[in-house]
Symmetry: D2
Subunit: 290 residues, 4 copies
């Protein structure tokens, strides 16, 4: 039985994904990836002249992650063509769309057109896997931005969610002295169980002056003006939370603190691993669609 799939647009991770799909025996019909030289060399990759051509032979369509960067056109950095999101949707009748970060009004249109869709970024297993690359990218940044070794440094991880958990493990594994901040007693118990030093939010201020590095994974502003008064002048702060982030940027700048706002790390520091995560999640989705 022949396996085929359509891929429209996407960044380096999607290019790597196509390569792996071919390796696994798929014929891949692509549109919006024509400038990737790596794909040109592959036998079982079709570079289609129109999006309809690409969609013809497959019931499942893989789109970009995120679907669109400007809320208008598909995200297609490996193409000279522009493809409007609405035009794209109008071609999808009878197909299932698999893409990333599909925003509210696009979702609405898909639902109106009765086009089933799956947002990879909402798949828990993909989010967990991405956490690995985010944590490792954070460690790379911490290494690059400090004049000390992480080994022996005192590092505070704020928030003990997915990223906090994996990041703390890696930091500990490399020899840092790891402190984790949390609000809930339950999380404090987990922090103890994993062997890091727990700091309850209520006691955070007493300790803020001790750290070489502070990494925030919390999506609201915990490091406000008052708390930024308490950190060391030579601290390195890394903020992993999306807009508006967890740090008062204005105050940090006024105080001349070293603050790095690090977003979308997986695609930047480890596009290949990221592509593997996409592939694994895609295969789970394909299996569920059968």
């Amino acid at each position: 039985m022949e396996k085929s799939i359509a891929v429209v647009g996407g960044d380096l991770r999607i290019v790597k994904l196509v390569e792996m799909l071919v390796k696994d025996g798929y014929t891949v019909y692509t549109y919006g990836l024509e400038m990737s030289e790596d794909l040109l060399r592959l036998d079982k990759v079709e570079i289609c002249p129109t999006v309809n051509e690409a969609l013809k032979s497959s019931k499942v369509v893989v789109g970009p992650i995120p679907l669109s960067s400007d809320r208008r056109n598909l995200s297609m950095p490996f193409s000279n063509i522009k493809l409007n999101v609405e035009d794209f949707i109008s071609c999808l009748s009878g197909k299932t769309l698999i893409a990333g970060n599909i925003v509210e009004d696009v979702r609405k249109k898909l639902e109106e057109s009765k086009i089933p869709y799956i947002d990879l970024l909402k798949r828990e297993e993909f989010t967990v896997l991405n956490t690995i690359a985010t944590a490792e990218g954070t460690i790379q940044i911490a290494m690059e931005e400090t004049q000390k070794t992480l080994h022996g440094s005192k590092v505070l991880v704020m928030g003990f969610g997915r990223i906090g958990k994996v990041l703390a493990k890696m930091l500990d594994g490399i020899g840092a002295k790891v402190y984790c901040e949390a609000r809930k007693n339950e999380d404090i118990a987990w922090i103890k169980a994993y062997g890091y030093e727990p700091i309850h939010l209520n006691h955070l201020n007493e300790h803020l002056g001790e750290f070489d590095i502070i990494i925030s994974t919390i999506p609201f502003q915990v490091l406000d003006k008052e708390r930024l008064e308490l950190v060391r002048k030579d601290v390195v702060i890394i903020d992993l939370a999306s807009n508006p982030g967890g740090v008062d940027r204005k105050v940090a700048k006024e105080k001349d603190l070293k603050l790095i706002w690090a977003l979308s790390l997986p695609g930047k520091v480890a596009p290949l691993t990221s592509a593997i995560y996409i592939k694994e999640t895609l295969y789970h989705v394909l299996k569920e669609l059968q």
Copy 2:
């Protein structure tokens, strides 16, 4: 301000708890602990002749964990007295009861009598902390029951919930080759993130013959007759799930497999640490009651 608290019944962990409460400045009024010699020596512990005497000076009453072992009388191994659960409840008017494993019909009676109660075993932070002692007790059993070192042994942990997570970490830390079984793709992703070998339930049977040790944390019978056919004859199986457990005991016996059913480990292997967990959780509760 003087701090006082009432403690009625309980095992060695409660005795240790009383010692720590005294150390922290409490006067403790006890009933049903009169045979503990350790407590007799302490200044600020009152051994009260009646339960009412013990309850007089405190609004909060700490009871046994579990509250009752026979569903009739309070669990009081350090006493020669018998105290009926209903009689106990009838003394609690105006008090708050803190105990462990308060069963359905006792809960009902407490509610009818409008007596507020807190079940420590339902507190997430206590459950997480207990996981540490359970995991360590499991490792002790595994060491005692095998003729091999855990280091280098292939160990399967079935289920990646609270106990699975902590147990896998410790086994890995001691040098075992750790495999974790799970059903959900999300858990498989976590197992990868933590660096253990993931085995999806769908593929479990292909691997069952590889393990030196199998530890089940799943509360339903995953190791059934069919699967027990697949394990090694010299495997050691440890079942951590409460009744009916995760292993077909009858088949295991017929096949002469080494199966250890290990329950209530924290109190057995580490009563002192367990008492510390109780104290920490008790303090959280007291703070919330203020």
Copy 3:
């Protein structure tokens, strides 16, 4: 080409070794193991009536570890026969003896008789491997002898040689707070590199009162009367050093301290793993003899 080997005497580890040799294709000629039921069932194991019969078909002879326990007869717990060490040597002409703990005067006799010999306990790789089982056995003892979890306990490892290194790693892996004592600045640097808390011998006394567990790997009496005054009353001390050990036993007893003197752990806690180590080392030796 047929492979055969002679095995004379030895304990459970040697019995397990014989089983593994058979599995690897050897025919094994044994003497002094006739009471092991496990061996009787094996096809390719010959139970020889005389030691000469056993030695006939092999140029290499595996003897007990230790060769003798009473300095007179071979160590043969799986036999009703007594075999004098000198009588044994007189049969070895033209053979190579591989055994453990061959003492000075036996070595002399072997040399006089021009019989080549290899003491497994002097093989560095065997000693290192044995360290794994010793460390794990120590952890088992520590778990059994304390009422606390190792996780979260403060543990002092005295001496950072082979055993200290492996033990510290395992203790850390299980979640203990690990402190390592050493005399040399170089060892202190290693302790830091591995991420444990270093304590220089010069500063030991200031810290001795902090530990839940103290494990000594040092072959001379560091925990003398003066230092035993400084430890906690509820400390558990484990002494891994052979006679006279690293702890003043008399003082420890007077002060009613909990002291466990743990020797020869590998054979006791993990005879099977120990047998694997013997096998691996034996194979290295056989290869070198070719």
Copy 4:
């Protein structure tokens, strides 16, 4: 009692060292560091106009690490002055020189002039501590040069000496699949004890095609033409050995392999931590000189 010390030349690590010495209460007399703005601001740092002025008040002189980069003048990147090594030596009468990498003919001259000297790079504790920064710098390079996460990557560490040991531990801690190559059975045993996958040099060739990353710590050419034929095309090779290194550079280039030759990492990636190591070792030396 006042403490004073002379410091002549050196790089950023020496600047940081001076800052820490001042913090610890020393008055520091410097020469050849006049362009460091950080030092100008410090009260207890004297910027001396001549080397003799700097040496006047101290019996111990700290020189650059390495003493000279061009075998002619002192290594003084924070100075506009040139100071010839021989001229420097002629000022040292009655002093003790502490510096790094003092080469053969300089050593001879110092001995002829009866000037005691200590080479920090020959101090075992300093070498071990430096290993931490080297290992961490290597991990930073590996992260920067690959499109994959280290987590989950197969990494080969060649050589199990000081750097190999610390590097393997950190790689394992971050979640890489760590393989260690060694020649000696003893090292293979250590690799097992620490829980990495051992590969004996005799079996290296069979495995070379499996690795995402290969890190060589061996000071002779193990990755020769023949072996470079066996590695993957997309492998990243990091060579930590000083000239001539452990990899056939010419062949690596011909085959278009990604090869990074990484030297003197501690000073580059973690000058501050490096300065702390220098300080700790210096204090040991000062104590021994008393």
